[in-house]
Structure formats: structure tokens, C-alpha cells
Symmetry: C2
Subunit: 77 residues, 2 copies
């Protein structure tokens, strides 16, 4: 079974990578972009026995820094 | 309007970051994880006038390296 973990910076945390992407998009002439935030995507291929609680545990212990980051778990098929 | 761009490495491309995460999860005692792939998440806040074609253009020109990466565009609300 596949699961996706989306790790994003919390609101209020500075995101220089997102700012750089935003600036580069403008430099390339793309209009209408108001904001860009960069985050991480971690795709896990786990056994059926692994439940959401276990994945949340992985996020808290390793995948996300919960001081500055939020995470969201999505199951894919 | 918000859009998410999910950038993942193509199959067959080595993913040392994913391997390191996998190894670390095993070291922490998490069982049942078969594979881990690391990717990027880019959240765009764009005007309503920006359509999927424009976002795909951004991906091809800047956000993803299409030689080694796939990208997927998802609209959020």
C-alpha cells in the first residue's frame, strides 16, 4: 500500500526556497502567481498492517520537524 | 486559488535521500516499510486566470527537471 506524506512549513515560518521559486517564476514572465511555498513529499510503500497511527508516529519522530512544519498523510490506493 | 505541484523522481532514478529515510525508519524500529521515495511539494497560490496549462508550463520550465522527474498538478479548492 502506498502512502504520501506532505510536509509543509507552518504559517509564519520564513520560506526562502519558496520566495526564490516565486522570484524565478516572475523572472520567467509568469504572471498571476501570488505566493509560493516549498515543502517535502515523502512516498512510503508500506505493508497493509501499517496503519495511519504508525505513519503519524514516523512523521513525528523523523519525517517532519513539528516545531516548524505541518504534515498531512494521504493514502494512495 | 491554490494548486499543488508534486515532483517525484522517475522510476529507475536512484534516490539516496529516500534510501536514507528508509534506513533511518528501520533504525527507529518501524517495521513494514518496503520503500521510501523522496520528492518535492510546491504549493502555488495563483489567480483564477491561471489555468492548468500555465502551471504545466511552469513545471516544465522551472519546477521540475523532466529528464529525471515526473510532476503532477493538483488543484486545491
Amino acid at each position: 500500500m502506498k502512502a504520501r506524506v506532505l510536509v509543509t512549513l507552518k504559517n509564519g515560518v520564513l520560506d526562502p526556497q519558496g520566495k526564490a521559486i516565486h522570484h524565478a517564476l516572475e523572472g520567467l514572465g509568469f504572471a498571476g502567481v501570488n505566493d509560493v511555498r516549498a515543502g517535502k513529499l515523502i512516498e512510503l510503500d508500506v505493508d497493509e498492517s501499517v496503519d495511519d497511527g504508525a505513519i503519524e508516529d514516523m512523521c513525528r519522530k523523523l519525517l517532519a520537524n513539528t516545531v516548524i512544519e505541518n504534515f498531512r498523510i494521504e493514502r494512495v490506493a
